[in-house]
Amino acid sequence: MKKLLIVPVLLVFGLTLAACGDREDIGDKTEIRFWHMSPTGSESYSEMRQIIRDFNESQDEYHVRGTGFNFWDYWDRIGVAIASGDAPNIAFHTLDNVVLRAQGGALANISELIAADIAKGEDTLDLEVYLENQLEFATHDDDLYALPFSGTTRMLFYNLDIFEANGLTEDDVPTTWSELETVARQLDDVDADGRINILGFDPTFGEGTYHGFLWQKGLDFFDEDLNPTLDTDEHLEVLEWMLDFNDIYSRSRLDAFGEESQMLGISPFAAGRLGMVISSDGLYQTMRSYGADINYGVAPIPVPDEDGIRVNWGSGFSIEIYDDDPEKVEGTWEFLKYLQDYDTQIRLAETLGFLMSNIPAMEEYAEGNPILEAFVEELHYAVDKVYVPYAPNWHAMDWMQYFEEGLAGRKSAAEVLEAARDNYIQKRENYERMQ
């Protein structure tokens, strides 16, 4: 009986081990390690695997082995891998801080690889397909050390059902800050007891950011030498505009509105509770995935009434080569060119749900879809946030701690700006002491 049991147990054990082993025999081919964000079990896993497999099948010399990590795990892993000198040959990273890794000598020089292709008379990447702003972020000392991989842009989402219920049409979609305020008030729906059912707009909801609004006025957090600014009347004016946009409602009511949305677990815009919101193409992908049943459109973010600049915060991923081993770099470069290729970029956009960096490819991908077409058009007005070595997180925790105090009414707008500026100054002084 025991012997009879051993057979199935060994079989199950053997099959389990076989299932765990996903390593193909690559023979004499040079292995290239590629890290991405489509782990086993994710929606994009199969197609990402197929994209890699298609490259491998076209190759005699190289074999790409892809490893997918969850988005939230990815950043710690890649950071530690680079620090320990055990980075993959090629991987995604964030475009806005390429300079950090380029300065540290972690990245292969892409300009040299392009030059080598040209010298050999081989086809190489056409840099014309990328946005100049994105290429600038991938440049260090006049050389490219990465390539833009994806692009994100932010727009104004408007709910047409709510517009129509209030007698408005797409022609009424605001284009300036004053129009935004007027339309927002028309869309508000508040109970007799003060409970907010529908909020027209709030600049602090969604992906509305203080630095995004500053850019529309030609202002910023830092000057060209990366000294913190934030101390002009115009900075104060923009922050007060954000904080006071809905001051006809108490903070408690607005907090309650926010909490209700949090409890729903979905974007308040997707739930039909916000008339307008600033968000990225990510919100479009989320609503599409979950089949959100609302009639909506997107438009450029309204600009200040006087001398407003059409600009939005456009973040993105880079694709980088981490190995200086000539044997590996050549194959990795071939794979990178394949990933940046027109057709692959369309496949990647369909697989990952990102807008990719190859603009002509994205124009074809978006064709016939008004929302995506608008996003691809808006990519031309997207600017990434500057990398500040002494405060890389300047737009998030470094700023948000003070901004939240302003939102909660514990600090005035002027106090918020002063405290944030003092913090940046201290960080800069401390950073300089370390040099």
Binding site: A256, E259, Q401, E405
Partner: protein, 308 residues
């Protein structure tokens, strides 16, 4: 074969036993050297360097420590937040753990089930726990404020903002931590089982009531486990991080920005591994000093069977 002397055989045996002993202990010893001792020494070295985790570390002497102590406001804010947490969480954790143990040290039907129920939160993932309490403590719609609503009405006061209110947020995290007091409860219960029944019988004959028996017998004889949980609570308290990261993001207004959180941000967000390593060593020394001070309370601990 030459016959060995008695002493020679013994020496050989001791040597052989030593080898075997080390062989059995080697997985742990190797683990200690590779995963604990080496990172500790590496972080000690890194604390004297500027290291962005991309370029090579560069020696800058005591600069990281000087910056932390003399020109970094957040260092002191985070240290204060952590001390506040320890001062509140450790005694409250001890009290709730002891009360639970006293409550569950009864001989009633299904006591095992009750003990399991109170222990269960310790096996819940901290992320799930954080999200669960986030809902419960929600100021406007959370269950806790719904239950407390009559109290708020009675005293004509606004609902407590819990984790959304900077003056309540640290206490909210402490309160939430009490949910896992079942872990220390198990240790107290184990020690309670060791207390000889004769002590209680003698006290009962002398007319001591249940409260007096707890105060004069149970609590004194539980001091070793109370002391153990006290020390472990201090050490764990200084490491508080994950729950703030999940629930409050260090806010509002940095009120739950604990030392561990700042250390994490220094490393991951600011790419200042050298400074983060210096913080780790400061934390080690702060914890060590407070633990050494706490160990002086050992003189008040009564170990059963110990001779004067």
């Amino acid at each position: 074969m030459a016959k060995k002397t008695k002493d020679g055989s013994l020496t050989l045996l001791i040597k052989r036993e030593k080898k075997v002993g080390f062989a059995f202990a080697s997985p742990w010893l190797i683990g200690l050297a590779v995963f604990t001792a080496f990172p500790m020494l590496a972080s000690f070295f890194l604390s004297f360097t500027r290291y962005d985790m991309v370029s090579s570390p560069r020696f800058i002497g005591l600069t990281n420590y000087r910056i932390l102590f003399f020109s970094d406001n957040l260092f002191w804010t985070s240290l204060w937040n952590t001390l506040y947490h320890v001062m509140l969480a450790v005694p409250l954790g001890l009290i709730v753990g002891i009360l639970l143990a006293l409550l569950l040290n009864s001989r009633i039907r299904g006591i095992g089930v009750y003990r399991t129920i109170f222990y269960l939160p310790n096996v819940v993932s901290i992320v799930a726990m954080g999200l669960l309490w986030l809902w419960l403590f929600q100021p406007h719609f959370g269950l806790i404020n719904q239950v407390l609503d009559p109290v708020y009405s009675l005293f004509n006061m606004d609902p407590i903002g819990w984790y959304r209110d900077a003056s309540w947020s640290k206490f909210t995290i402490v309160l939430m931590g009490l949910w896992t007091a079942g872990g220390s409860m198990i240790i107290y219960l184990a020690q309670m089982q060791d207390i000889p029944k004769e002590y209680y019988e003698a006290a009962e004959i002398d007319g001591a009531g249940s409260l007096r028996r707890i105060y004069h017998i149970t609590l004194p004889l539980m001091t070793p486990s109370i002391f153990f949980n006290f020390i472990m609570g201090i050490i764990a308290g200084f490491q508080v991080f994950a729950i703030a990261h999940i629930m409050t993001g260090g806010g509002p207004a940095r009120s739950t920005y604990y030392f561990g959180y700042y250390l994490f941000d220094k490393m991951i967000m600011d790419h200042q591994m050298g400074s983060a390593s210096a913080m780790a060593w400061v934390l080690l020394f702060v914890t060590l000093i407070i633990t050494i001070l706490a160990l002086r309370l050992n003189r008040y601990v009564f170990y059963l069977g110990e001779q004067d």
